[in-house]
Symmetry: C2
Subunit: 346 residues, 2 copies
């Protein structure tokens, strides 16, 4: 399932499906991006290809030529390297992929085009080098004008606790109910999954709200954009990114993502994770500036650290306390159906 | 008066005093930057120099050599050009300034170093080309840790209504009372006035709060940093910048800047300017995340559109309504003294 329909060409746009490149990964945890893509977008992942690794993510092993024959249009670097730079040993396989007809997609810190061998091959062969950490050019200043269509934004009590996963799960659930819905990506893995998007935290600050407006463009009145949130409105390092994304997204509905058991915020041992209700109320107050009809659909609880019974008890208790549906999208079930119902209620 | 003491070299750092370059400005309104510098930092402005303009800002006209002899260390481009790019006719005078021993400082969109003639001359002569729109390298992610020293941040109900002027006026007033105080610049004109700073709206969004932490570094307990605010927490285009700056600045005191009579927000005809109290309460609630002791010192009213009597009546009325001092720093007087008192009260 391709979760994005390419209405807007000014965001980054990739060419799926993908061959996943594993390089010379010394261990499976170096291939997090590849595993993530296989888990979240299996329909986009045709095979895997390495250059001296013993790691496999469980896809058919194939050469770039074979992958291209089976429909692949890009090779995604699915592995991280120390320092985030492209090592010499990857140049030959990357050039080989371009010769086979594939674009190269990277989420690494080092730019693909900074390696002359890659830039030359891309130019000679007419392939694209796509760095998903680099925002597209021409992002406008936000104009604040209300766009048609419906929008949901996942927000969080902290970073890295399930905002992307929640948005993906809600998009699938909306589609399963026959609704027109697109997942809208704002981070590098999300962009690879969606095939397009803008890495919002890499955008120059003046343009963040404008980028958010571009990510979920005007749509038909009953269409849903389900937007991947970033950071937290109460995270002292990243709250500005979260606020620009909130203003530009103009969500009709927010879903607050939370992971019980975290004692401090990501990267900041001195800051406690705020309460769900505090984040919810702040996002509703601030989001009302560009969409006065904003409301909270419910809570997405990342309960992966808890047993099934404990998770159920906590979610029931939190639901009663907050007066809203609380569900873990990975566990699914009736609780998640109730969350989807509440998001869609108009 | 140099309003900044150069404790931190990782922000942009200029070399005053300045010779102001007027180019071939066709009219006085093209030389806004030069007039601004002369008004706000006359002690930094040694003279003016043009290449075919009839405009004068009222400083002694002198050549780069004469300016260098009188102590100038940089020539600041004090004039705008259509499109923000450096025209061919400016190359010779800019090179001549470098030959005389001056750095070149520019706030234009086009980068100085993009002109090969300028880059070559700078490299040959050992001069610096400083683009104050370009943030310095190496800005860290914010860590949220409380820094010693006192901080005041000017915030606003909208853009471009006096946040820089208010911060400058408060810095001077604090110094006039014998306090150690530095003006901290976050925009290009402010950076030229202060001789250092970071253009916060040009920083990549993930690093805005980190840049704000860098702008007002650790200081002695009784030292005041008076920080130039940007945008407005309720401006749909720029609120993210304002929030990152608020979090990273960790202000003990905010002063809310307002211009009565504005009917809509800068650039957004559909958005009304919010009430002073709404901006104040939101900034106090959000700013409490990194400084729980944050409080509002009072209101800076840009009453330039009003007559003296009308301005006085309005400020008295608003002061009674809000329970806070309200003053126009340009008008000064007892009202401004009362605002300064309230900011300094501990």
């Amino acid at each position: 399932m391709v979760l994005h329909d390419d209405r807007d060409q000014s965001v980054l746009t990739l060419s799926p499906p993908y061959l996943l490149f594993l390089g010379d990964a010394p261990a499976a945890n170096h291939a997090k991006t590849a595993f993530g893509l296989k888990d979240w977008a299996p329909e986009l992942c045709i095979g895997e290809y390495g250059c001296g690794t013993a790691v496999s993510i469980g896809l058919p092993v194939m050469t770039p030529d074979e992958a291209h024959e089976r429909g692949a249009r890009s090779m995604v670097i699915g592995v991280v390297n120390l320092g985030g730079f492209i090592p010499d040993s990857w140049i030959a396989p990357l050039v080989r992929a371009m010769e086979a007809g594939l674009d190269i997609v990277s989420g690494m810190h080092g730019r693909l085009s900074d390696r002359a061998e890659l830039a030359d091959a891309a130019s000679r062969l007419g392939r694209r080098l796509v760095d998903v950490r680099i925002p597209p050019a021409g992002i406008p200043i936000a104009n604040g004008r209300k766009r048609s269509g419906r929008r949901l934004l996942t927000v969080g009590t902290d970073c890295a606790l399930g905002k992307k996963y929640t948005a993906l799960a809600l998009t699938r659930a909306f589609r399963a109910r026959g609704l027109a819905a697109d997942f809208r990506a704002t981070g590098q893995t999300g962009i690879m999954i969606a095939g397009s998007g803008v890495p919002i935290d890499a955008v120059v600050s003046d343009f963040v709200a404008g980028a958010a407006e571009m990510i979920s463009p005007e749509a038909s009145a009953d269409h849903w954009d389900v937007i991947e949130g970033q950071g937290s409105i109460l995270h002292p390092s990243y709250a500005g990114v979260s606020l620009g994304l909130l203003h530009g997204s103009q969500p009709d509905v927010i879903v607050v993502c939370h992971e019980p058991g975290r004692t401090s915020m990501a990267g900041l041992p001195d800051f406690a994770v705020p309460d769900i209700s505090e984040v919810m109320e702040l996002c509703l107050a601030l989001g009302g500036r560009t969409n006065p009809a904003i409301r909270c659909g419910g809570i997405s609880m990342n309960s992966s650290a808890l047993g099934a019974d404990e998770a159920r008890r906590l979610m029931t208790k939190e639901s009663a306390r907050l007066g809203l549906p609380v569900a873990d999208p990975i566990r699914g079930g009736e609780a998640f159906d109730a969350l989807v119902d509440a998001c869609l209620r108009t």
